[in-house]
Assembly symmetry: C2
Homo-oligomer: 418 residues x 2
């Protein structure tokens, strides 16, 4: 099969700018200046834009005044105007700089989705029109977050959907790179607000990035990362506010070669609570009833293994991690169901936080758990629950100990060093 | 040819609501209530909406911050979002009332225009989709003011374009009536703010309405009236703020039968100036040069005949009526050109107003001019210039005399009586 990436003379980049990057006329001018400079180098660009920061929420609020349960079709018709405003303004700003630019809606690009209004999936992107514009030297400015349903209705891809638009276009056009411009300079080893030695990662693997996204790193939406991985689109996260290389998220094995340590970052989740139920087998009917109750209440939980520090701990017990804000409603419901569920004693612990080591193949890494517990123990931090997956090793601690734990782990795993 | 009007069981109305009629969530709810009530009677409705009052200007202002001479294509992409917001909100408000409604952009309706961005003309409306929705009992909520160019780009019809959208849909669907809902209860014999006896006209002919629209009656755009006349669409102007029959603008000879007087109304234009140039033939080359100069400055003028009250007035002179605001720039330009143009003495009179009698066949009505001058003379108002066309007889007076003149003429031509 031909690889267009290798045939095209000039590199092609799909660049997505989020809401804060185009949040005002001033910001739009700054981004236009940046695009105009790149255009001068002969680089081919397709620009994908979000609505100006706050605009989507403003439109949702208008709708809520009329009907808090407005139809998803009409909400999509409404909120898709936000991106249409931004693309027109950006095209004007570029044209004033002598750049040939053209704004395009999802319909004009032919971004075909299914009919799931409000959370549509992209099914097909026709590249014919985009390719023709690029061949003419025109910079297409595409409305993110939107597409058209089979019957021609306007759809939206749900929150974070502009990133997915960019990845889908990059995949369809076989772009050299999909660049996501945000308000942070890249993916960091941990939250720089907690650990001042946090370091920007030059390169990160898709699996690890996906894990970080799921663990609440706000940089990229997990769906977008999965989409990029599936279509092998090289993805880069960088800042629209300052110059820099950002972080490259690689689909190939190259990411492993450039890794200097298994542990690549420390992800955190705050405002959690844990619920431990004794005398409950996970295979039991009562446990199934509990899960059904959680689903009904739309409470996301993570099932964790209690750290068995001594033999006295009860053998059969289930521990759940959930958002602290959901605890009251869950306890209320469980009380009502206590008769039928016949649950054993409940232990609720609030104001908890989760600290996760993230990196390729962490689950099978010998001695990692021991080292993590040792580091925390040296700081007299009690690790309470444990959960692992292919690329992460998480433990639950008291929220008061969070900053101390992050700094100690960041130092112990030498994350400040390249 | 089949006339669908006579075949359909239920009457079909195309209803257009302007910016002030949908200017807030509260106003949208009021209009939705009105549409819902009509739906209960079994009446078929197609709704055409403008942007919320102020929204189009807000969007134009955003564009002007980036580029005061932004491309018309991008301006259309930008401002067409205004109507898209309103139709989505209206569809929600109707659905909440149990009315099956669906918002549609100009593209979804298939309102085909030429490629004159910012002032596109409608070339064709496909009624297939609209007819299918109506047959299903769904109320289509259509974005006014917009269409699509042959290449699929978004176009707008220029200011007042939502009225034209409504008329075009009514013509294509052979609707029983096109109803334009505004913030006034209909077409009046003159401005009710000046003459409290001003009377709402039940019926008015298209020619007369067109003349009033051209003379600045803000109720309807002249293009919309011409369009309705061409396609023989019965047009009604009425208020969205209060109940009433409004004014029916008729295309047939019926309007003549129901007319009780030749003079149907008094139109006014304020803030004018007159420029009289002596010793200038309208056939001369110097006159052509003057017209070219006016065109270059984009100044609209009306050529008028000076009222020759005595033989002493110069035989060869040209009088022009123009907006007072344009006088300074015109005089500046004429001074620069005085050498080449060799114009004779200029007489400029400012703070002038135009009073026009409007009605069918006024130009050929014997004695009308005499009566008009007599009425004004009795009030010691000096009529200075004269201009006529098929349906109007205009005279220029001092702006200070405007209210007095309007009241005297309204009384003299018995316009307060049906």
């Amino acid at each position: 099969m031909l690889d267009k990436r290798k045939l095209s003379r000039n590199k092609l980049f799909v660049k997505k700018f989020g809401g804060t990057s185009v949040g005002s006329i001033e910001r739009i001018e700054v981004v236009a200046e940046q695009i105009a400079k790149s255009a001068q180098t002969g680089e081919q660009q397709v620009i994908v834009l979000s609505a100006m920061a706050g605009e989507t929420n403003r439109l949702f609020a208008l709708a809520a005044q009329i009907d808090p349960r407005a139809s998803a079709r009409e909400l999509d018709m409404l909120v898709s105007t936000g991106e249409q405003v931004t693309i027109a303004l950006m095209a004007m700003a570029l044209q004033r700089r002598g750049v040939r630019a053209k704004s395009l809606t999802g319909r004009q690009v032919q971004i075909h989705t299914n009919s799931q209004f409000g959370r549509a999936s992209i099914e097909r992107v026709d590249t014919q029109y985009l390719a023709a514009l690029l061949a003419e030297g025109i910079v297409p400015i595409v409305a993110g977050f939107q597409g058209i349903a089979p019957n021609g209705d306007v759809t939206t891809l749900g929150r974070g959907g502009s990133d997915t638009t960019a990845v889908a276009l990059a995949a369809a056009l076989q772009a050299d790179e999909c660049q996501i411009f945000t308000d942070v300079p890249g993916v960091f080893t941990t939250d720089p607000n907690i650990e001042s030695n946090a370091r920007r990662l030059e390169v990160i693997g898709f699996d690890v990035m996906l894990e970080m996204a799921k663990l609440g790193a706000k940089v990229l939406h997990p769906d977008c990362v999965e989409y990029a991985q599936r279509f092998k689109v090289p993805l880069r996260v960088l800042s629209s506010f300052e110059a820099g290389q950002g972080t490259l998220i690689q689909f190939s094995d190259e990411s492993e070669r450039t890794m200097t340590s298994f542990v690549q970052g420390i992800a955190i989740n705050k405002a959690l609570a844990t619920l431990t139920i004794e005398g409950l087998f996970t295979a039991s009917e009562r446990y199934q009833a509990l899960l059904a109750c959680l689903a009904r209440l739309q409470i996301d939980v993570e099932v964790s293994t209690p750290l068995k520090l001594n033999e006295a701990a009860p053998a059969d017990c289930v521990s759940l991690m959930l958002a602290d804000a959901k605890v009251d409603i869950l306890l209320q419901e469980l009380e009502a169901l206590s008769e039928s569920l016949k649950l054993g004693p409940l232990i609720v612990e609030r104001q908890r936080a989760k600290v996760s080591l993230v990196g390729k193949g962490l689950q099978t890494k010998n001695g990692l758990l021991t080292k993590m517990l040792e580091v925390l123990g040296n700081e007299t931090i009690h690790a309470k629950l444990l959960s692992t997956s292919g690329s992460k090793l998480s433990t639950v601690i008291d929220e008061r100990d969070l900053h101390k734990a992050v700094r100690a782990l960041h130092h112990a795993f030498e994350l400040n060093k390249v």
